[in-house]
Symmetry: C2
Subunit: 293 residues, 2 copies
């Protein structure tokens, strides 16, 4: 006889969280959901999820997943008055899938452990497409036994799932992802701006270079959008700035200079100040065209 | 009856040129070769190529291909005393496959045209592996008819062959390739340095991020070498510095700021000054570990 599935709570059913929670529903997990904007939870409720505030979810669920916006939201949700750690059942698992601060992840883990609650960080990459296709890469920072315990649930949402180390390690791994993206995207933008200024057909340049040593996901996926001046997100500049600030802060704590990350963050901050915060990250290209010599 | 194949001259039979010339030999082109270090031409001579100095090659061949080191070498070879343009047969094709300056390519084209000689630039990407497998990407700057005329010869050496525009456009396209690589490589190095400083297993981080938005040729191919501290070239830092200086000079002429390119060039110049010029480009990583906070 199959074991009954644990009740899962999902807090934050936005563009990423909603499809991820939907996969859990379809996999047969009893689901409770919460989102600040109720309307974004409605499709899940129609499919059988029960809406409840976070404290109630924490008190009722064996596993609580959070996918919210900023580290401040995570901190408030876990550690604030009536927060998840205070309300959770002993032995419950709290999985933060938000891209957030490694230090905060460690603080949450330790606070939770003192109450007999098992917290872990499990940020993802793969974007809204990966969330919809259940093909996310999930980077987990957790005690080994906790990781094993929740692995069946993570497998419902992702295909590439690695425990990167203890608490905070998932967030650190996600920072590596964002750091690699940052400078890589700058290279793509500079290459396309150069091609255009030199009078080349940038699409033909992409065809010549994308399969070789210059090849990257950004070049092949964001390059064509830059060329046709389609700066819709994708991934918002304002969110990438959040991630890059965490990464830079964390790099400095580790004693590491990250000149590429720092350069690109400064360019994005300038763009955000000019009202580009809700453009896609590939609007980094606009920095170049607005700073011609 | 098949048309007799034109006699081809190949000047510069180093790590790239030797296998490229070998493909032409095996494809049935009568071949003359020259290299400053005679020994590097010997295997081709044993396969039937005839060794001769550049002026003699120019006087005898229908098509002359050059694959040498630096723009100064190209300039000397084409425009210097006894140079290719002065010696070439009227109507001959001169194809410079060296990564060199777009301006110089235009100057060579114009000088050649006044003598009824057809010059073009056709730098490649794909490295020594691409040269050996005849899978190079070849970026051509040429008059359309000249491009069509030499295409059968280029197809012997490469698989991705695009005319990027008139004279110089091939070099410009190659600069786009190098510009995209430069910052992208910095992102890879920073990500790996971060992973290591954060106490993660960098191979596990690569496994989590290389298939997603952070994915790139550099991450998947150079990342593992960085992790095992194998800084053998690959592509020499000293050659990449040459390319990046051309790119930066050219970007400035086009009125384009390229802050990523400029940053990475400075890092490489510092490394070269510390004796790393003959390390592979991924030794950029060493800049980070030698500038810890």
């Amino acid at each position: 006889m199959p074991q009954a599935k644990p009740t899962v709570g999902f807090i934050g059913t936005g563009v990423m969280g909603a499809p991820m929670a939907g996969h859990l529903l379809r996999a047969g997990y009893p689901l409770m959901v919460y989102n600040r904007t109720f309307a974004k939870a409605e499709p899940l409720i129609r499919q059988g999820a029960r809406f409840a505030p976070p404290a109630e979810i924490a008190a009722a669920c064996d596993v609580v997943i959070t996918m919210v916006g900023f580290p401040e939201d995570v901190e408030q949700l876990y550690l604030g008055p009536g927060g998840l750690i205070g309300q959770a059942k002993p032995g419950a698992f709290l999985i933060d899938m938000t891209t957030s601060s490694p230090e905060l992840a460690v603080r949450i883990y330790e606070t939770a452990r003192r109450r007999g609650v098992r917290a872990m960080d499990a940020p993802v990459s793969g974007g809204d497409v990966g969330a919809r296709n259940a093909s996310l890469s999930i980077m987990v920072g957790a005690d080994p036994a906790d990781f094993e315990a929740v692995l069946p649930i993570l497998r419902v949402m992702g295909t590439t799932i690695h425990r990167q180390g203890g608490p905070g390690a998932g967030q650190h791994a996600k920072m590596c992802n964002q750091i690699a993206i940052a400078s890589g995207l700058l290279g793509v933008c500079e290459a396309i701006a150069y091609a255009e200024k030199a009078g080349l057909d940038p699409e033909k340049v992409l065809a010549s270079i994308e399969k070789g040593a210059a090849g990257s996901w950004s070049l092949s996926n964001l390059g064509p959008r830059i060329i046709r001046r389609d700066f819709a997100p994708g991934f918002y500049i304002k969110h990438f700035i959040k991630d890059m600030r965490i990464a830079l802060h964390s790099a400095r704590r580790l004693g590491l200079l990250a000149p590429g990350l720092e350069l690109v963050l400064g360019m994005f901050e300038e763009l955000a100040g000019r009202g580009e915060g809700e453009s896609g990250t590939h609007a980094l290209y606009k920095w170049l065209t607005s700073h011609m010599l």
